[in-house]
Amino acid sequence: MILTVAILACCCLPVMAEEKTLRIATTNEVKSPAFIGDYTLGLFNHISNPPLMQMNDKGELIGLLADRYEVSQDNTEWTFIIKGNQFWSDGTPVTADDVAYSIQMYGTSVPNAGWIGETLTDTQVDGDKVTFRFNKPYTNIALEFTSYSILPKHIWESIENPNEYTSTGPYVGAGPFYIDNVDLNSGKVIFRQNPGWKGKTPAYDTVEISWFKNEDAAAKALESGIMDTYWKYAASYPYAAIASLQKTGDFEVLEKPTSGMTFLGFNLKKEPMSDIAFRDAISNAINYQELVDISTLGHGKIPEKGFVPPAMDGYVRSTPMEYNPDTARNKLEKAGYIDSDKNGIVEGKDGDDIILNLLIRNSYAREAELVKEYLEKVGIGVEVRSVEDNTWFELKDKLEYDITLTRTTPWGMLMHAGWATGYFDSRRTGQGVLHTVDDEAFLTLCDNILGTTDRTLLTGYAKEVQKYYAENLPGIPLYWKNDITPYNKEITGWYSNPLYGIMNEFTFTGVKPAT
């Protein structure tokens, strides 16, 4: 009798399979449910629609949807071999056709990927191989293809304008999860496990990425335990919030140096910024230690003249930046900038007081205050003009400024010929780049880098680039910093790469909740 009851009781206590949800907080907002057109959704969909390549935690390129790639001798033909045994969430297998279709679609329909449309001449599919032929040599296609999500051809080929297409989901994907619902009103994107996924089964059934319109709410949500981790594209968890987060005792942090940094840029077309002696003097006027203390709260370090931080592959050590106002003043004097009327401001070659127009985006106001103070202390006048982002893009492109403060992102550092050349090469335009250097030596160096994939040659070039930065100072780095990713202590298995942080396949298949 008792036995029967006991057995019944055991049967009546079924282990309720509770749906396990991983909750990620972010401040990157999804503005519209456009899978390709919306910027943030385009970041998230790397999980559901893996691109061909990805970066591992050391910054090396490894395959994602593709197993490996081959490049022709002249760098105009790139062949990607697709991994087998991958299936879309509707059951159909992933084929090389999907890859061919996706890349071509990006080239023709997505303006941001217009370069593909202009240079891709031919696409060939052969079994599990796709070969792309370009009308000019490229050495970094593999890197570029870490950012284009591959779409299922049988779903998307009937859509007239993919860039404008909106739908709240579900979207067919081939990753460990697929996007099930994009809900703007509750502020989250819901991913569900892909039934067709043949790789390592994730421990979680769903992943919810929730976006907040202000950082404090996101941070507080994390602290209260509602969210498991915080992620922001190319940014760290706010340094100021770390202390109170650690006080709760429930969180660990992942701290990694990043190649994203803030630097002082010069309008090299105008006097006196065009004078290297002037820029050199300025480099001694800045109190780097204070900037590290205030801007990174100790999670950073004083940068070196080579501009490129240790987080980047190919970094070589150079002399650290030095703060010495007296040296700065002496250098100014020696270069011919003297304060003859003793009003506290040195004069330029034309005899007028030097008052530099410091153009910044609103978010750099604090640091601009400090820079202004440092420069004024050595006799250089500064007027700060703070504008909102779009205006900054306009004015910066028209070169209507003397100096500016801006930042690099890990992706930006890799762009063009890599090692921040994308920011300075005058032939390259873009929203965040300064395009101020048209020095022959620099441009030739960039072209050399772009012309080869030989590792030893590239390492040599990297050294040269950093040497150029140290000697010519087209931009003065203000501080190097670390990116902080907080996560709930009970969850293990986090994997972070320099480009997208924890938003990668390894994390999503590897994280495990506390048992």
């Binding site: 503005k31 303006p111 976006w211 509602i226």
Partner: protein, 322 residues
Amino acid sequence: MRPFLQGSIFLFRKLIRYSCSFGIIVLLVFLLPRMMPGDPVANLVGEDIYLTDETKETLRAALGLDSPLHEQFVLYSIHLLHLDLGYSYHMHGAVSDILADRAGWTLLYIGISIIIGTCTGIYLGARAGFEHETWWSSLISSLALIISSTPPYLLSLIAMVIFVYHLGWFPFKGFYDTFHILSIIHHLTLPVLILSVFYAARNVLIMRGTVLSEKIQLYPLFARSLGIPERRILIRHIRKNAIIPLIALIALDFGFLFSGALFIEIVFSLNGMGSLMYDAILNRDYPVLTGTFLVIAIFVICANFIADILSLALDPRTRSHP
């Protein structure tokens, strides 16, 4: 008969005035992007939008940018009548669709707040004004004053820190977690509460002021001398007159229903009209901006007109003193 005629003339004059204002607004909205320096297509489509050349040509033809201005205006007006407000490349959708989406939620949370705030404000303000010698009247007016003197976002932030973070009574963001009525109520309670408090505070102050000035008029004295009970005086006579100045303000509140409450939306991460406009401005999304502007203009004009009708009904004096 004559008062009716006078009233109608009054309303008619107002209608003409409003129509003219609206006409001017439509004209402005039409002319501005076409007169600004630069390519009108860029001005109409917004900035930071990369369009292929052929798309630009199709747009140019569709908008009729090559035809003379008055023809364009006719085309534009026809579009408006069909409620076609253009297409936003930033938001990847027709402007009217985008507005319809966001408007619903905005109307919901602001509408409720205005109604609660107005009713509370009128009731409390009237009592406080009428019995303004009592201690609680001073308390209410002081409270209302303090609330009106605080920047709105600060109150919302503090409310969030206390009620959401420390006490955990309300959620952090969004209109809902799952699309269920209970979840919606749970999420909207705090924002609606705070907004109502602000509306109520302002209405209390004004209502109290007007009731006070009505109180010293001759007619309440007269009513009192006739032996009418105090409360009757308040409700029947004074309140009706005291509301009149408030009507214009409430009408404005409803008129600006559409513009959402930006601060509430930022603090509570709500996807409403306020954020839409804010983003549109920062992204130079002109189609959304002009569309929103036109819709708000219509709302405000309608609201004002209703206010005029109401004040006409409540106060015959307005007929001759517009």
